[in-house]
Amino acid sequence: MAASKGFFTDTTLCIGCKACEVACKQWNQLPDDGFLFSGMSYDNTVHLGGSTWRHVAFVERPVPLNTQTDGAFSWLFSSDVCKHCARAGCLESCPTGAIIRTEFGSVYVQPDVCNGCGYCIVSCPFGVINRREEDGRAWKCTLCYDRLRDDLVPACAKACPTESIQFGDLDELRAHAKERVEQLHERGMPEAYLYGASADDQPGTEGLNAFFLLVDKPEVYNLPPDPVAPAKKVKDAWLAAGAAAAGMALAAVGAVFFGGHRA
């Protein structure tokens, strides 16, 4: 198995150009997501979806960043992507085996297997994977599985003009990201932190293979503050199901016992 690969998206380097969105569409030959004016700053793709595997969020805040020497305003950009979680909700919920863990540690949907059951869609704690109505199958970022097979960098990371999207071996990325946060703290940006860089940061997913450096609350970027792979809690439900099944059996037997022979 090859070393685990992933993305480190450093939002302090993002200029919101959306090259990643287009490079992704180009390489994967995805269709557009509709020509809808959202009114949400410069974000007209709004969210990740079946046909949008990279999405840049635009956050207009009435507070400055600490590195800005003046002003009472800041504009944050963040290129969102499938997180390829170490514990991936979609993967664990997929009933067909269409979603697999690859040799690069990424989570991949096999379009030739997926039957479009839609279960992964509600199982993703980040709202990443989605179906396109006319197509029926579930789609999301593949971490450019095809490119990785040939030692190529994923299309978005390659296109990114400012190295906001960094691709590489996960261990190295994590080490680098840690240094980067320290560097930013030194430079007077104490608000910088890593999102999902490790299992410690994000126990619910046991760490993201595509993690982020953020400068505001995750919610500001439409990211959950404490996501959890649903299967981590499923034991409770199975126990309840067991109890319900037992109760039902008991009720049935009871009904037979009490309702049976009296007549």
Binding site: L13, I15, K18, A19, K25, F35, S41, T69, E163
Partner: protein, 893 residues
């Protein structure tokens, strides 16, 4: 820039911005419009450089800059002038650099009067002609060549006549104390550009202004450098050239030119826009910034050469370039006896630039029009007037990828939709030819850093798609055939004699682009061997060269522009990647990176230096200097041409080898940048009685109405236009692509929450925007990124409008340029689209009216034209075109 430093091209390249300690981005939204070049700015920031963005809007560039300075659109000279004053008053200039490498010590003639003396006008205004007589601006005791000096500068855009006598200051004062020296004149000129005035003019609070000035000063000198970055946010004004001049002055004062991390980076918007001025599809130039002959002056070759050859500086080589070009064009037909067929060239009688062509078109004087890879019906000002012009043509040829608005102006235009104009009433015959893409043809682009890069043909064009090369070549062949029986007439001889024998290659028998490049590079006539560079060119007809500044790009028969040695195998200047003019020099004027003695100013900022041992200039870059000329060299009095360049003259294209803080000759509208208000402003000029640039080009005609100069009650808001990362200019290359269209799917305007409140506008809903030229509807983005400015206690609101959309493509919307009138900078005829006034109201109330076709949109008010100009400047007569007819029809020449 041409007039300040000698060449109009960007003096550096984006990659070198990494070495900057401070980068001021003004008049450019670099992160949005040039994201990949911005890569280097981000790297500089990460290395600790301070990034400052001065812009009316808080853009994606501002978002990642250390400091955003909101400015009133159209007030940049006041701001930059304020910085100049700050540098001088606080003695923060790089004295050794200024004294040695600039014309600051030069003494100016006694007749010169500054705008300070004449309330906003320089000496020499000719009321009758409506233009300056620039003689009084000259150095003391230097007699400029009378009127005829017509050699154009290498201005990146339209070059200007520069009078090329030995313009070397006769008198200098190296102590910079003489009251008539450039330095003192400069000091006086900007003495009123105080922080208070900057605040009052630009809406920039004092403390912010001081932050910028201090950051620039702090990062200059031997150890540190700063760079300026601009784009069309500066050029598209009635004083556009002077905006750039202001930055040039700052960079010269701070000693930032020719040094790593310094310079002025001009960012251009099209793949080969630099190339299309170098090898100009511009009326006033021949390839390599050789001027087109002027009817009145350049009657024969001898006169033309005399008027254009500079007795000092590099332009002393002029005849070699001109004769080699004629030789390339006319081959054997060009002989010494027939003046190399100079008499084949058509001549100019005035300004024949685009906007004049359009009004001529609208008046029926132009019959046939070729449009190739451009969409003027959307991308040009006053779209309705543009389209009116198209309707008057007999025939129109459009070459593009798809049916753009210009190709279908007769079918799909606002005035057609409205019914003001009927398709069947339009007589124009239209030919649409599908163009080949860059992947379907060989050829070179010249990028913003003057780099020629070759793109190879990957696949054959499909269907009837052809390259422009093929189209023009075959059109030429046909015309040669058509005229074959009419060579009795002299006027047809150029067609007969024009060399047009490029090898035809491939299945489509296309002309070989490499053969054309070979001709551009130049060759020795006898054996057709490519020349090594422009220093090999001769004025005896033994060499031919299509464009002398590109000479060397095909050196040794090798296509240098196709070189692709990976950057990691060479230094950061990457000299073996493609080819840069001139002579593969990456940073211009790099002689200035060394001190007068030839040693680098500092280890940290070394680039080119004098090697005592080898007795030559050496370093990381190709020296932009005469390699063997030592720092101690001083020319003799008798020296002529390039022999006049001394060892301490880094600006070798300038007649005196110095960086020009003060432009004694070469500009139409003054030797020093002066703050003038835009044609349509929200404020009276706070500095001078003269409101606008007196030399600006106006087109006073019914289909091009102007608002009142300021305080027009009908149009209380300032509007500025721009583009977005997600689209490309007029949209011909982006609105048809779904992957780009979905990212910015509709036309919108950007306004502040305060303006939204004032006018009852809501985010996401509709607004109607009006000027006298037209009315459009847009979606509304309410954002704190648009910040109202407080000017003299009054809130000034600005409206931002991207201009990508029109009636065709996947995503559509009204075209912003339909709002803008024709008015332009006098030096380069570039229109003012970055600052004008208008009004906004909520809702979709536009009826799609355009003044040019639907008549008046708003109630009539007195024009108050007199408020734009002082009485002594005069009033412009309403003439055929209405522009200062004297000036532009005859006077410019």
């Amino acid at each position: 820039m041409g007039t300040s430093f000698g060449r109009g091209g960007a003096t550096t390249f984006p990659g070198d911005l990494v070495n900057s300690d401070v980068i001021v981005i003004e008049g450019s939204n670099m992160a949005e419009c040039h994201p990949v070049a911005f890569r280097w700015v981000m790297q500089a920031r990460e290395r600790g450089a301070t990034i400052i963005h001065v812009d009316p809007r808080f853009t994606r560039t501002s978002a990642v800059a250390n400091l955003h300075v909101p400015i009133r659109a159209g007030s940049d000279i006041a701001f930059l002038g304020g910085i100049i004053r700050y540098i001088i008053e606080n003695e923060r200039y790089f004295k050794e650099y200024v004294v040695n490498y600039t014309n600051a010590p030069a003494i100016i003639g006694d007749d010169f009067k500054d705008t300070e003396d004449l309330d906003g006008v320089f000496s020499g205004w000719d009321k009758k002609k409506g233009k300056y007589e620039t003689r009084t601006w000259m150095y003391k005791d230097v007699d400029p060549e009378p009127a005829g000096g017509t050699r154009e500068s290498e201005a990146g855009e339209k070059g200007q006549p520069i009078q090329r006598n030995p313009i070397q200051a006769e008198h200098t004062d190296e102590t910079l104390q003489h009251p008539r020296c450039v330095f003192q004149i400069l000091k006086k000129h900007y003495s009123r550009y105080t922080p208070e005035l900057v605040e009052e003019t630009c809406g920039i609070p004092r403390y912010l202004f001081l932050k910028v000035a201090e950051a620039l000063c702090r990062n200059s000198g031997r150890e540190r450098t700063g760079a300026f970055v601009y784009a069309v946010g500066w050029t598209q004004h009635t004083v556009g050239v002077q905006y750039i001049r202001s930055a040039a002055i700052i960079q010269l004062l701070l000693g930032n030119m020719g040094r790593p991390g310094g310079g002025i980076m001009a960012l251009r918007g099209h793949a080969s826009i630099q190339g299309s001025t170098d090898i100009p599809t511009l009326y006033n130039l021949l390839p390599g910034y050789l001027p087109m002959p002027k009817a009145k002056h350049d009657k024969d070759l001898a006169t033309y050469l005399r008027l254009n050859t500079s007795p000092s500086g590099w332009w002393g080589e002029f005849p070699k370039y001109m004769i080699s070009m004629l030789k390339a064009w006319y081959g054997d037909a060009a002989t010494k006896e027939n003046d190399w067929r100079y008499d084949y060239l058509p001549t100019l009688t005035g300004d024949h630039s685009h906007m004049n062509t359009v009004v001529d078109m609208a008046d029926g004087a132009v019959k046939g029009y070729f449009v190739m890879g451009e969409n003027p019906a959307v991308g040009s000002m006053n779209g309705a007037l543009q389209r009116k012009g198209l309707r008057q043509l007999d025939w129109l040829v459009v070459r593009d990828f798809q049916l753009i608005e210009t190709a279908e102006f007769w079918r799909d235009a606002p005035e057609i939709a409205r019914g003001d104009v009927k398709t069947k009433d339009i007589k124009t015959e239209v030919f649409f030819f599908p163009g080949a893409a860059h992947t379907e043809k060989d050829g070179s682009f010249t990028n913003t850093q003057r780099m020629l890069q070759w793109h190879h043909k990957a696949v054959e064009p499909r269907g009837d798609s052809r390259s422009e090369l093929d189209f023009i070549f075959k059109l030429g062949q046909r015309l040669k055939e058509l005229y074959a029986n009419e060579y009795g007439q002299i006027r047809n001889w150029p067609i007969r004699d024009m060399t047009w024998d490029y090898p035809e290659i491939g299945p489509l028998k296309e002309p070989s682009a490499e053969a054309v490049l070979h001709e551009i590079n130049g060759y020795t006539v006898a054996d057709r061997k490519p020349v090594e560079g422009y220093s090999s060119l001769k004025d005896d007809g033994s060499t031919a060269c299509g464009c002398w500044i590109y000479s060397g790009c095909y050196r040794g028969g090798k296509n240098m522009t196709a070189r692709r040695k990976p950057y990691w195998e060479q230094n950061h200047l990457a000299p073996e990647w493609a080819w840069v003019w001139p002579h593969n020099r990456r940073i211009l004027y790099n002689r200035a990176s060394a001190d007068p003695n030839g040693a680098p100013w500092s280890e940290r900022k070394k680039l080119v230096w004098w090697d005592e041992q080898k007795q030559e200039w050496t370093g990381l870059d190709q020296p932009d200097f005469i390699v063997k000329r030592g720092p101690s060299h001083r020319p003799s009095k008798e020296a002529r041409g390039k022999e006049t360049i001394s060892g301490v003259d880094p600006f070798i294209m300038q007649a005196d080898g110095k960086g020009w803080i003060y432009v004694a000759t070469g500009l139409q509208d003054g030797p020093l940048p002066t703050h003038y208000e835009p044609q349509e402003s929200i404020a009276k000029n706070p500095l001078y009685g003269q409101q606008c640039n007196p030399e600006r080009m106006e087109w006073i005609r019914k289909d091009n109405p102007y608002h009142q100069p300021y305080d027009d009650p009908r149009f209380p808001y300032l509007i500025t236009t721009y583009r977005l990362t997600e689209h490309h200019t007029a949209g011909g290359m982006s609105r048809w692509l779904s992957w780009l269209s979905e990212l910015q799917p509709e036309m919108f305007c950007e306004i502040s929450p305060e303006l939204a409140e004032e006018r009852g506008l809501k985010n996401g809903e509709w607004a109607t925007i009006r000027t006298m030229r037209g009315e459009i509807e847009t979606r509304v983005l309410v954002t704190r990124r648009m910040q109202p400015l407080r000017i003299k206690g009054k809130l000034v609101h600005q409206i931002g409008l991207p201009y990508h959309w029109s009636t065709k493509g996947l995503v559509r919307g009204d075209a912003a340029n339909d709002l803008i009138g024709f008015v332009a900078d006098p030096n380069v005829s570039i229109q003012e689209s970055k600052a004008f006034t208008g009004n906004i109201e909520p809702g979709r109330k536009s009826k799609g009216r355009r003044h040019a076709t639907s008549g008046r949109l708003v109630k009539k008010l007195p024009s108050r034209e007199q408020d734009r100009d002082l009485p002594k400047v005069g009033h412009k007569p309403e003439s055929k075109h209405g522009y200062k007819a004297e000036q532009t029809k005859e006077g410019n020449i």
